[in-house]
């Protein structure tokens, strides 16, 4: 019995150490969001940078001395803090006036740039850091050994929490930070310099990210995939805790780390006559917790309702019905596109097919984000489930591709109906994060369910037979379906449903007061958007001949967001432009340079700074000016 107790105690301590690590990253993200309302996608990249810098600086200051180690850790964190401040001053400050979430695109570009910079300076091979001097060994607890460094981490988390609390509640600076977190207008009334506050908060947030990274040096080898792994953890912790709540972040980190440790400790357990592998649940446990918390507490554990508008209509201008020339022009462009690849370049066929699919995906996402004001961070779920449904109908039911394709919008729509029911009960970033949680849960089911979905390998051999085998015909079919889907969604935006959807976005209370069931309208918008994203997924599956779980992975969702934001949230044609430019850029740059990620990031950053209303928005302004 005492053996079991000792095992449980050790796992509990492991969980505490993990919680501290999680908290350190999440605290900075929460702070930055609280004050600036920026969802800093580059936070994980800053963590990674902290780890790499610590590796080099400790090496420089002396690996085996106390001063060398801790000096290196602190210096790395300070460097990252300075980089964070620089990012605020040189990039983000220029686009605060842009529509909400546009800053997300800029931070996404920074992720790409930082990743390639790290690759350039430190190389591709992982770097295992030194152990902390004086804390190399383990302590014995009931016959179990716990690394001494874990004890330090267990203390470090609460210590940072206390320091932050003192800073926020016992200093004048902290008062401004709290004021800004609760009420932006009040901040202006307090007469503080908003610029300095934002820069310093970015410094502090980035410093904490860097510190979180640097402190992991004895536990975590520095490597290039940390940025995305860490950012998703940090988002989850911040949201579960309640955005802007530091205490909440700590509580959430504790909950998630302990849940993970518990899953691992349970391992394989015989239940209901089968073996349930709890260790496999570590893939998704934090997202399951996030979904559960958000469904029960829409603002996280300790969060307060935020005044953050959903998609925000502050920048939206009237969506006028298409002019007389719009449909003829569209048709003409469509014909041009249809015949363009007949010049003999078969690859153009493929690339344009991809662009058509992603354009439909982006328009479907935009339908929700723009007119609906409902931001989805997990839209790949509907795209991916659509592609899996089509693939399974094709492979398992032996349906021809034409019929199997019907399953795609059906599956996407049904999934959106299911997930959307919960999501429309939330708002703002919480809603976005719940979509992400559902997407991750869907992803892990697809990833794990080897018998049905082929697991991590996915499904292959999805090549349509008959007339669709011809690539030109398949391209035309794709183009026709995508164009039909896009035109349908555009019409819907201009139809009474679109008007009701915009009404629900602009003023939910007013909309209810004129008899509009806002939740139901938004719920149906989810379903429509999911259905068309699913159709895009189905077309994608048969174009590539294979699919794997990453069709519903985070990267695809982020790509979709980047396309919509790049094109501009408040124009209809923007997402199509965004999808075309993004896909084409990626294809062109990836082919010609080794550091294509950084170039893509710089290109996006340039576009973001040049066109803070998106490409579509810029075109609209151009037309308006002339």
């Amino acid at each position: 019995m005492s053996e079991i107790f000792a095992d449980i105690l050790i796992q509990f301590l492991n969980g505490l150490a993990g919680a501290s690590s999680l908290f350190l990253v999440a605290a900075g993200l929460s702070l930055i969001f609280g004050v600036t309302r920026i969802v800093n996608f580059a936070h994980g990249a800053l963590f990674m940078l902290g780890l790499y810098l610590a590796w080099s600086l400790i090496d420089l200051f002396g690996r085996s001395t106390l001063l060398g180690f801790w000096g290196g850790v602190l210096a790395a964190a300070l460097c990252v803090g300075a980089i964070g401040a620089a990012i605020e001053v040189f990039v983000l400050r220029r686009i605060y006036k842009a529509p909400e979430l546009f800053q997300l695109l800029a931070t996404f570009a920074l992720v790409l740039i930082i990743k390639d910079a790290v690759l350039y300076f430190w190389g591709a091979e992982e770097l295992l850091g030194p152990r902390a001097p004086g804390l190399r060994g383990a302590v014995e607890i009931f016959g179990r050994r716990l690394p001494e460094y874990d004890l330090l981490l267990i203390v470090a988390g609460p210590l940072v929490l206390c320091l932050l609390w003192l800073l926020l509640h016992r200093t004048r600076y902290g008062m401004f930070v709290r004021a800004a977190t609760q009420d932006r207008e009040m901040l202006a009334a307090l007469g503080t310099n908003e610029r300095h506050l934002f820069t310093s908060v970015f410094f502090l947030g980035a410093f904490l990210a860097g510190l979180g990274g640097a402190l992991q040096i004895p536990r975590e080898p520095a490597q290039l995939s940390l940025d995305l792994a860490v950012i998703s953890d940090a988002f989850v912790v911040v949201v579960v805790g309640g955005m802007g709540s530091i205490g909440g972040a700590f509580l959430a980190a504790l909950l998630i780390a302990q849940a993970k440790a518990l899953c691992i400790a349970l391992g394989d357990v015989a239940m209901f006559g089968t073996i349930v592998s709890f260790s496999k649940l570590t893939l998704v446990v934090e997202f399951a917790i996030m979904a559960a918390v958000l469904v029960l507490r829409p603002w996280g554990l300790l969060g307060k309702p935020l005044a953050l508008a959903r998609g925000g209509s502050a920048h939206a201008s009237p969506l006028d019905p298409p002019g007389q020339l719009f449909w003829p022009t569209s048709l003409f462009v469509l014909m041009l596109l249809a015949f363009a690849p007949l010049g003999g370049d078969r690859y153009l066929l493929v690339l344009m097919g991809d662009i058509a699919v992603f354009a439909l995906f982006a328009v479907a996402l935009h339908f929700l984000m723009g007119p609906g004001g409902l931001v989805s961070f997990g839209h790949a779920a509907y795209f991916g489930l659509g592609s899996y449904a089509a693939a399974l109908a094709f492979l398992r039911l032996d349906l021809p591709a034409e019929a199997a394709l019907l399953a795609a919008p059906l599956a996407g729509g049904l999934a959106a109906l299911l997930f959307g029911w919960f999501c429309v009960r939330l708002s703002g970033v919480y809603l976005a994060m719940l979509t992400l949680a559902f997407a991750q849960i869907a992803w892990s089911v697809v990833f794990q369910w080897n018998d049905a979905t082929g697991g991590s390998n996915g499904l292959i051999g999805l090549w349509p037979a008959g007339w669709l085998k011809d690539r030109t015909l398949y391209f035309w079919a794709t183009l026709a379906l995508c164009a039909a889907g896009i035109f349908f969604l555009w019409r819907t935006v201009h139809a009474p449903f679109g008007l009701a959807l915009r009404a629900a976005r602009d003023q939910p209370m007013r909309a209810e007061a004129v008899g509009i069931d806002t939740r139901r309208v938004q719920w149906l918008a989810f379903a429509l958007s999911g259905a068309f994203a699913g159709l895009a997924g189905g077309l994608f599956a048969f174009a590539k001949g294979s699919i794997s779980p990453d069709t519903l992975g985070v990267a695809r969702s982020v790509d979709g967001l980047a396309m919509v934001l790049l094109g501009g949230v408040h124009t209809l044609t923007g997402p199509v432009l965004g999808a075309a430019v993004f896909t084409w850029l990626q294809d062109e740059i990836a082919r010609n340079t080794q550091y294509w990620r950084a170039i893509l990031g710089l290109a996006i950053l340039a576009l973001v700074l040049a066109f803070p209303y998106g490409l579509g928005g810029a075109l609209k302004r151009l037309r308006g000016a002339s």
Partner: protein, 253 residues
């Protein structure tokens, strides 16, 4: 015959009773003001009528049908229009579209996915805007309108459901005196012409005494007086309450 009858309304928040046994009635075409010092329970009362809050006890009958506890959109569909204290219009839309959105909703057309919204209910919307004197601004974006104009748009939107009852929460807050007069005169004339009952809360006593047919006075959750403007003005209890609360009582003599 009465339009709205509230009976024995009660609402408490965590032990604090905000509204206690309030009952009143509004007749078609009647303009009724609901007044009282801050914290008297006006907003709570109002929010129970429009469905934002469900009463703990009591009934609210609209044309004989109990509407207590129904959601706002259901109450709206039964013929209750409302305006908000802080103007709530659909800022990204044109003025005309604001009204169209409401008209389409009441005509059960809001789930239409294909037909263009632009032409649907367009004439009706123009007619409503003409009634509130906003016809010439129909094509402007709501987000760019002056405050007083927004209030008129709200009124037009509230009228879109052909309401039997109009609930107006501080309809003239933040407006210049001349604008107040114009808006309330407009409202009162529309109400009388179309037999719409109007219930409004108001801080400005000039407006109240100039336009209300009848006044209800709330204090600390209870209805303490009810009657014609003249009767209420001379009611000693009301005088005491308002003298205690400062100079709200306009003494418009």
């Amino acid at each position: 015959m009465t339009l709205l009858v509230a009976n024995g309304l009660r609402k408490a928040f965590g032990g604090v009773e905000a509204v206690i046994d309030v009952g009143f009635a509004v007749a078609p075409g009647e303009v009724v003001a609901l007044i009282g010092p801050n914290g008297a329970g006006k907003s709570t009362c109002f929010n129970m009528l429009n469905g934002q809050l469900a009463p703990d006890r009591g009934t609210i009958e609209l044309g004989g049908k109990n509407i207590a506890g129904l959601p706002p959109r259901a109450i709206a569909r039964l013929g209750v229009g409302r305006t908000f204290q802080i103007t709530a219009t659909f800022a990204s839309m044109r003025v005309r579209e604001n009204v169209q959105a409401a008209l389409q909703s009441f005509a059960d057309k809001s789930y239409g996915l294909w037909r263009a919204a632009d032409t649907l209910c367009r004439e009706e919307a123009q007619a409503l805007l003409a009634r509130v004197g906003m016809a010439d601004q129909a094509e402007r974006q709501c987000g760019t309108l002056a405050y007083g104009d927004l209030k008129r748009v709200e009124l037009a939107v509230a009228l879109a459901g052909k309401p039997r009852l109009l609930l107006m929460d501080e309809p003239t807050a933040g407006m210049a005196p001349a604008e107040r007069l114009a808006l309330m005169s407009l409202t009162a004339s529309l109400a009388r012409r179309d037999k719409i009952g109007v219930l409004f809360t108001e801080h400005d006593m000039d407006t109240v005494f100039a336009h209300a047919d009848r006044i209800l006075v709330l204090d600390r959750g209870r209805l303490i007086a009810e009657g014609s403007p003249a009767a209420v003005r001379n009611d000693p209890t009301v005088r005491r309450v308002y003298l205690g609360a400062g100079t709200m009582y306009g003494e418009a003599t």
